[in-house]
Each structure stands twice: as structure tokens, then as C-alpha cells.
């Protein structure tokens, strides 16, 4: 029995203090936030965040491949890969396979990929535009079938747009590709409304809870948010300034 009086620890929840049933919460990580946090030297902050989080930090097999297995073979990033691997070994990150079977996850991922990557087609030649990939789709799949409170930590803008503002997706992609596209947004109907945060919001929470290990002030928050922006987090300067105002 731990300090919270844990008796049963399962997929959907656990017994908390005084036998109270506490539903499990999951933060599902895409590769991007782990990379941007690691490249900013903020990996230890993930561990501190986990210590104040009443749930699990989840990695899917494809995400693990991107943040551990592949960089392990690249000398330039091997050290970072070892650090992330260490967090897995020490249980800071839990593999999705410990919660759901990989087979089940794979099946759901393929369903999501088919729906999401069928939404946009070129008007002229009816070619499908692939907008999300295995790692992101696995995160969505886990969120869809884990049956628990969850949020996906993803820095990639397009995946967020898919469910938060699908009506903008067509115009944004048309602007980028400089060609007319047709959207079949009804294909997304089967996908539940996901909740997304980014590495920026994780750092915001860490800053607020004074977990960074550097004197907590507005300059630090500014540095943290721009730090992840310049290491791959899709966040605008306007959003950063708004987050700084929220912190006042």
C-alpha cells in the first residue's frame, strides 16, 4: 500500500485514499513534444511533472521508435535517446502496450489513418492528401479506445486542426499547396473530440507549479515558451503573449 492507500492499480482506475475509486488519467505523448523538451534540456521537468500527475504518461510503439530506437543509431542524438529510454525504464513513461494490446491499437490506428487521410483530395485529379502519419494516429487511437480521461500532447498543428477546426483545414492546405482541394469532413464524424495540449502548455504548468528549477519569473516563462517554439512546437507569438498574460 502506498501513501495514497493504493490497493488496486488497473487500466481504468485505482483505489485511492480511504478506498475512494480514482479514475485513471492518461497524457499521451507524440514524439514532437518529447523532442522539443529534450532539445531544450527540459527532460527532467517531464519527470517532475509526472510526480505531480495523478495518472500515466503514455508512449505508443511508433512514438518510442522516433524518440528512442531511431536516434539511438544517430551519434548526434544518442545521448538524448538514452535519456528518454531511461525515463521509460524508470516508469516515468509507460508503454501503451501495458494498457492496451498493440493489436487493438494498430487496428484503431488504421481506422483513423483511413478516415483522416481521406478527408482532402485534389479537386483536379482527386488525389488523396495524406495529412497525418502513424505516430500521430496511434496517439489518437489510444485516446479513442482507452476509455479514460486523457489528453494528447502534440506539437504538430495539422493533427490538432483535424478535430478542433476541420473547417479551416481545407483553406489552410489550399494555401500551402496553391491548388484547389475538396474536403469530405463527414469522414471525421467517427472521431471523438480529442483534447490536445502542447509542450508549451506542459511547460506553463511546470512553471506555474515551480518545477523548472530556475527562479520563477516572467522572463523564465518567456524563455520556456519561445524555447519550445524554436524547437518545433507549433505555437504563435500571439499565443505566447496571451499565455504570459494569463500567468499574471
Amino acid at each position: 500500500m502506498d501513501e495514497e492507500g493504493e490497493i488496486i492499480r488497473g487500466v481504468r482506475g485505482r483505489r485511492g485514499l480511504f478506498g475512494r475509486w480514482v479514475e485513471m488519467k492518461y497524457l499521451i505523448f507524440d514524439a514532437g513534444p518529447i523532442i522539443s523538451l529534450t532539445l531544450n534540456g527540459m527532460l527532467p521537468v517531464i519527470e517532475k511533472l509526472k510526480s505531480v500527475f495523478d495518472g500515466e504518461f503514455i508512449l505508443t510503439p511508433t512514438v518510442k521508435r522516433e524518440v528512442v530506437d531511431r536516434p539511438m543509431k544517430i551519434k548526434k542524438f544518442k545521448l538524448e535517446a538514452l535519456q528518454v529510454q531511461d525515463l521509460i525504464a524508470r516508469g516515468v513513461f509507460k508503454m501503451s502496450g501495458d494498457v492496451l494490446s498493440n493489436q487493438k491499437l494498430d487496428k484503431e490506428m488504421k481506422k483513423i489513418l483511413k478516415a483522416a487521410n481521406g478527408v482532402l483530395r485534389t479537386t483536379e485529379r482527386k488525389e488523396k492528401i495524406s495529412i497525418i502519419h502513424d505516430g500521430e494516429a496511434e496517439c489518437l487511437a489510444f485516446a479513442n479506445i482507452c476509455g479514460c480521461e486523457n489528453a494528447i500532447v502534440i506539437d504538430e498543428r495539422t493533427t490538432r486542426m483535424l478535430t478542433e477546426a476541420p473547417q479551416n483545414l481545407e483553406s489552410m492546405m489550399e494555401g500551402k499547396l496553391h491548388m484547389p482541394l475538396d474536403a469530405t469532413l463527414s469522414l471525421l464524424d467517427g472521431l471523438k473530440k480529442f483534447r490536445f495540449i502542447r509542450s508549451a502548455e506542459l511547460l506553463y504548468v511546470a512553471w506555474k507549479k515551480d518545477l523548472i528549477g530556475v527562479k520563477k519569473d516572467k522572463e523564465l516563462l518567456d524563455a520556456l515558451l519561445y524555447g519550445v517554439k524554436f524547437k518545433g512546437c507549433a505555437i504563435s507569438s500571439v499565443e505566447i503573449e496571451e499565455m504570459k498574460r494569463l500567468a499574471s
Binding site: 488525389e127 498543428r157 479551416n168 499547396l177 506553463y204 524554436f230 504563435s236
Partner: protein
């Protein structure tokens, strides 16, 4: 390989621009290929884009032309662009890939600094094209896969993009997203 006709045209024009010593035209030709590559999401198109862009960058640097191995590299470029185009005309895509690969492999035969410098140009061109593909709407994961580069390499480049600053890219007010994070952490 998708868009074979387009790739064939690009290779023909590339050879012409190399012979006419027009590095800027080569780079602009490469950008056209990136656009096609985004739609087709085809690695062959990306390889051509990287190759043409790299040749353009190498030709921009006049001092490379006086270095040992320059003639071998230049001859390999001209010869293999021609052979790749002929192979594509005959619909022999595998052979075209081999000839395009030989341009890059020719760098391994160059002793001295030139080989190292040009290899570096190719590596940076891969990252540059990855950035362009991402700007054209490809996910980071797909971009990395098509170029054979790691997400780690891409992270800093993607951070330089201004896409995230456009209004349409903001899909939820910042305060709402912060609220989600705060709710998750109780």
C-alpha cells in the same frame, strides 16, 4: 515513382542548366519538384529535389571548381543526369534511380576536402527540403520518412517556420488550451 513525365522534364532542364552554368535556375527548378513531391508524397521526387538543389548550391561556390576532384564530380553529374533521363524515357525507373544515386556516390571517390564539403551541402539540402515539405503541409513524421532524416534533425528547422503564426493555425484560444493542461494536472 510518381509524376514520371514531370521528373523527366526536370532532369532534362537540370542538365541544361548545369551545362549553361545557371545555379539559381537549378534551385528554382528544385522548388517546383518539392511542390510535386508534396502532392504525390513520393520519395523519388524528393530525391530529385534534393539532388538538383544541391547541385545548384555546389555550382554557386566558385572556389569548389578549383579543388581536386571537381572535374570528376562535374562529369558524373552531366553523365548520370543524361543516363537517368534516358532510363525514364524507357520507363526503366529502377535504372533511373541507380544513375541518380551514382551522382551522390561519386562523392565517395573524391579524395580531399571537396567530397566532404559537397556531402555537407547534400545533407543541408535534405534538411532544407524537409523544411519546405513541412511548409507545404506534410506532417513532420511523413517529411522525415520521405527524406530519411530524423525528427530530431527537423525540430530546429520547423521551429523557424512562421506557419504557426498565421491566424488560421490557431485552432483554440490559448486560455482554453491552458485550462485543459491545468485540469489534467488537477
Amino acid at each position: 515513382m510518381k509524376e514520371v513525365e514531370n521528373v523527366l522534364r526536370i532532369l532534362r532542364e537540370a542538365k541544361k542548366f548545369v551545362e549553361e552554368d545557371k545555379p539559381n535556375e537549378l534551385k528554382s527548378l528544385s522548388n517546383q519538384t518539392v511542390h510535386a513531391a508534396t502532392i504525390a508524397q513520393d520519395a523519388d521526387n524528393v530525391i530529385v529535389a534534393v539532388l538538383i538543389y544541391s547541385i545548384g548550391k555546389v555550382m554557386e561556390r566558385d572556389h569548389y571548381r578549383t579543388m581536386d576532384g571537381w572535374k570528376d564530380f562535374y562529369d558524373a553529374v552531366i553523365k548520370n543526369l543524361e543516363l537517368a533521363a534516358v532510363a525514364l524515357e524507357k520507363k526503366s525507373i529502377d535504372n533511373a534511380r541507380i544513375y541518380l544515386g551514382r551522382i551522390r556516390n561519386s562523392l565517395n571517390k573524391i579524395e580531399g576536402d571537396l567530397g566532404v564539403y559537397v556531402k555537407d551541402v547534400f545533407r543541408k539540402a535534405e534538411i532544407n527540403k524537409a523544411f519546405k515539405l513541412h511548409e507545404h503541409g506534410l506532417s513532420t513524421e511523413k517529411t522525415a520518412e520521405m527524406l530519411g532524416v530524423s525528427l530530431w534533425d527537423l525540430a530546429s528547422y520547423i521551429g523557424q517556420s512562421h506557419i504557426g503564426d498565421s491566424k488560421v493555425a490557431i485552432t483554440m484560444p490559448a486560455k482554453d488550451r491552458v485550462k485543459i493542461a491545468e485540469e489534467m494536472f488537477g
